[in-house]
């Protein structure tokens, strides 16, 4: 008969005895049902939302192109909609998707906020969190692992079996590693089918066409969750090993679960916001408005900045009124105003993002205290549903808005007469074919490289926890006692 190492023997025994336990089987089936529900709802939401967003993005483009001949400035105010496409992996982890909105109305002179979040159209129940696959893997599966692992060593200590096991000549290290491997094997029994089902639905959600970037993201997600759940397994066994009884181990593990998944995330969020206070939305836009007025009010004919601009133009063209200019003066002023307001908005927005970034960095650094934060942040980032991806969408949409407004200003400068039309004149409009000068809005998601670079702290925290557990196994193997 083939000899197995003690660690593998113990792992096999953990697996075998767990499967003989009906409670474990029923619990596994329950988690399986929750997983099926989470996977299905994630997939269905992805299909529905992406279908809607694609349809409305096309509709917005269609409406834009089908405007009649118009004054370009009216078109600049007609504006455009930017819809954030739902990332394919959002069916795995919806992250901030439901709270940060997906639709931006883009128009001249004004930076609007993202609207139409799921939360805005839902009851307060959404605040308790949707059941996504990520939620199941982050919260429910660790709880199941803790339930399976709390008695792994503590129960045997209580019953005296531990003494018989150790008296066979195996070391504490072999016992802990073996029990951990057994628990990991049990975890993988649920985890691998979950990921396979998720992969199938993820592929069908994209009609089987996936980019290499998406494949890498999915692979990294699977790897990260595999590691996270394995750490939960080792943690459960270690807590069991240091506990005098199984009851004590269970209470400790549930306490840790509550601490890691509820208390510490909320506390770190609150602490981060307190340490790095961000201005309110009203204050943020008031400050921009104040700065715009200081820089120059394009609607005020006596504004010093615009008066100086006007004087310099008159001097260069050696004329005495703007009506004599060879281009449309109003368009020129609006282009200047757009440039000033966009520059100021971007500066204030960057400052605001810097504050949010400090808050997020603080929250990410908490992953060194709480591995749940590491997987949560990494999962959202790889799924494309983290804050950074929404900021990226906002930036691309703002660039599109600016280009749209300036294209219309440029058309006004070039194609609209400087002279106000009289009642008998043709209206000051341009041909509708010019609307095609504005390209369609297409959001390009961040590549996985920059995404991972943003998550350096989370990755380091993962490494830290991995090394910490290895250290604990080595340390406790020397100090643990059977009695």
């Amino acid at each position: 008969m083939k000899a197995l190492r003690p660690e593998r023997l113990i792992a096999q025994q953990v697996w075998h005895t767990a499967l003989l336990n009906r409670a474990v089987v029923y619990l596994g089936l329950f988690v399986g049902l929750v997983v099926v529900y989470a996977v299905y709802t994630g997939w269905a939401t992805f299909r529905k939302q992406n279908g809607l967003r694609t349809t409305y993005q096309q509709q917005a483009r269609h409406d834009w192109l089908n405007n009649p001949d118009k004054h370009p400035h009216r078109m600049a105010h007609y504006g455009h909609f930017a819809f954030r496409p739902k990332p394919p992996l959002s069916m795995f982890d919806s992250g901030m998707e439901s709270f940060l909105g997906s639709t931006l109305f883009l128009e001249a002179h004004k930076q609007n906020a993202v609207n139409f979040s799921e939360a805005g159209f839902s009851t307060g129940m959404l605040r308790f969190g949707e059941i996504s696959l990520a939620l199941v893997l982050q919260l429910l599966l660790p709880l199941l692992i803790f339930f399976l692992g709390f008695g792994s060593i503590a129960s045997e200590r209580e019953t005296g079996t531990l003494k018989i096991v150790l008296s066979q000549g195996i070391s504490w290290r072999q016992l802990i590693v073996g029990k951990s491997l057994g628990l990991i094997r049990l975890m993988l029994t649920l985890f691998i089918p979950i990921m396979l089902v998720a992969a199938v639905l993820w592929l069908t959600g994209q009609a089987g066409v996936v980019s290499a970037d998406q494949v890498v993201r999915f692979g990294l997600l699977a790897l990260a969750y595999g590691l996270y759940l394995s750490m939960c397994c080792v943690g459960a066994v270690l807590v069991s090993a240091v506990s005098a009884s199984a009851n004590v181990a269970l209470v400790r593990l549930i306490g840790l679960w509550l601490m890691f998944t509820i208390v510490l995330p909320r506390a770190s969020q609150a602490l981060g916001s307190a340490l790095f206070a961000a201005p309110s939305k009203v204050a943020f836009f008031d400050r921009i408005q104040d700065d715009v007025l200081k820089q120059g009010d394009s609607h005020n004919p006596n504004d010093p900045h615009y008066r100086a601009l006007k004087d310099s133009l008159l001097a260069v063209y050696r004329i005495d009124s703007v009506e004599q200019l060879p281009f449309n003066y109003s368009g020129f002023i609006m282009a200047e105003g757009e440039k000033i307001s966009a520059t100021l908005y971007n500066r204030h927005y960057d400052e605001l993002l810097a504050i949010y970034d400090r808050q997020n960095q603080f929250s990410r650094a908490m992953a060194f205290l709480n591995p749940f934060m590491a997987i949560k942040n990494l999962s959202m980032a790889l799924s494309g549903t983290d804050y950074a991806s929404f900021v990226d969408f906002g930036r691309q949409a703002e660039q599109y808005r600016y280009d749209l407004a300036q294209t219309m200003n440029e058309l006004q400068i070039r194609s609209i007469s400087n002279r106000k039309p009289g009642p008998a004149d043709k209206p000051a409009v341009i041909d509708r074919k010019h609307w095609e000068d504005v390209p369609e809005f297409r959001y390009t998601a961040l590549d996985v490289g920059p995404v991972l670079a943003c998550q350096t702290i989370s990755l380091l925290a993962f490494l830290f926890w991995g090394l910490a557990l290895v250290y604990l196994i080595r340390k406790l193997s020397k100090t643990l006692r059977a009695v």
């Binding site: 008969m1 083939k2 000899a3 197995l4 003690p6 023997l9 113990i10 025994q13 075998h16 005895t17 003989l20 336990n21 019953t159 005296g160 079996t161 003494k163 018989i164 096991v165 150790l166 008296s167 066979q168 000549g169 195996i170 070391s171 006692r481 059977a482 009695v483």
Partner: protein, 235 residues
């Protein structure tokens, strides 16, 4: 095979020193069945735990096969088998599966027939081999414990009140097995409260009181009544 040299163990809860074992000297040779008698707290289980390496001595040495347990933990554990008062195995596994697991852990890999042979030798009826241990009586579990020791080919047996709670028939069967193991050359150290069983099966008897070995006797020299009298006088 089994030797305690000035073996001492003190516990220090809350900075108080509580002596559990005080300068114990004893030797158990192959073929010996050394019975340790004494009241609860006399130091019997502490002695066994020190030989098993579950406790570290405050001073002195516990030797198994001539090796210091503290320095050669895994080597000494390979030589011995341990049987507690209540053998708690894995209740969801059968007797055969439990035996396969424990003997494999000790590095022995047997066929199913060989494992069944050990269980039969230990006195477990064949029909019970494939029943779940959760349905076993205490005596049946003790027999699986003995089978584990047999399969391990242990040269030293450490038994902590193994007959406590067994019915007379099961206790008799157990004594027979011990005699057979002893005849095969095993060195057996058994902590027990059962004076009559100790007299019947033991070759040597040590009476402990407050962590000290206060009396050492050889069984052929005395009757059960005499042993009881000595015991009562000593403790």
């Amino acid at each position: 095979m089994l030797q305690a040299i000035e073996l001492t163990k003190q516990y220090t809860p809350n900075r108080q020193t509580i002596p559990a074992l005080n300068a114990l000297n004893l030797r158990v040779q192959p073929g010996d069945i050394y019975c340790l008698l004494g009241q609860n707290g006399a130091g019997k289980t502490t002695t066994i735990n020190l030989f098993l390496g579950f406790l570290e001595p405050t001073s002195g040495q516990a030797l198994v096969g001539g090796m210091n347990v503290t320095d050669h933990l895994s080597e000494t554990r390979r030589l011995l088998a341990y049987l507690p008062e209540t053998v708690m195995l894995y209740p969801n596994l059968t007797g055969l599966e439990n035996l396969r697991f424990f003997s494999s852990l000790a590095g022995f890999h047997y066929s199913t027939d060989e494992l069944a042979g050990f269980l039969t030798t230990a006195g477990l009826q064949a029909s019970a081999h494939t029943s779940r241990v959760g349905k076993y009586s205490k005596g049946m579990r003790q027999k699986v414990g003995i089978a584990i020791a047999l399969a391990k080919r242990a040269r030293v047996l450490l038994l902590d009140e193994p007959t406590s709670g067994l019915d007379p028939k099961a206790a008799n069967e157990f004594s027979d097995i011990l005699r057979r193991l002893s005849a095969d050359g095993a060195a057996i150290l058994m902590a027990t409260h059962d004076i009559f069983r100790a007299r019947e099966v033991g070759t040597h008897i040590g009476i402990m009181r407050a962590g000290r070995l206060v009396e050492t006797l050889t069984t052929p020299d005395l009757t059960a009544q005499e042993l009881e009298a000595i015991y009562l006088q000593t403790v």
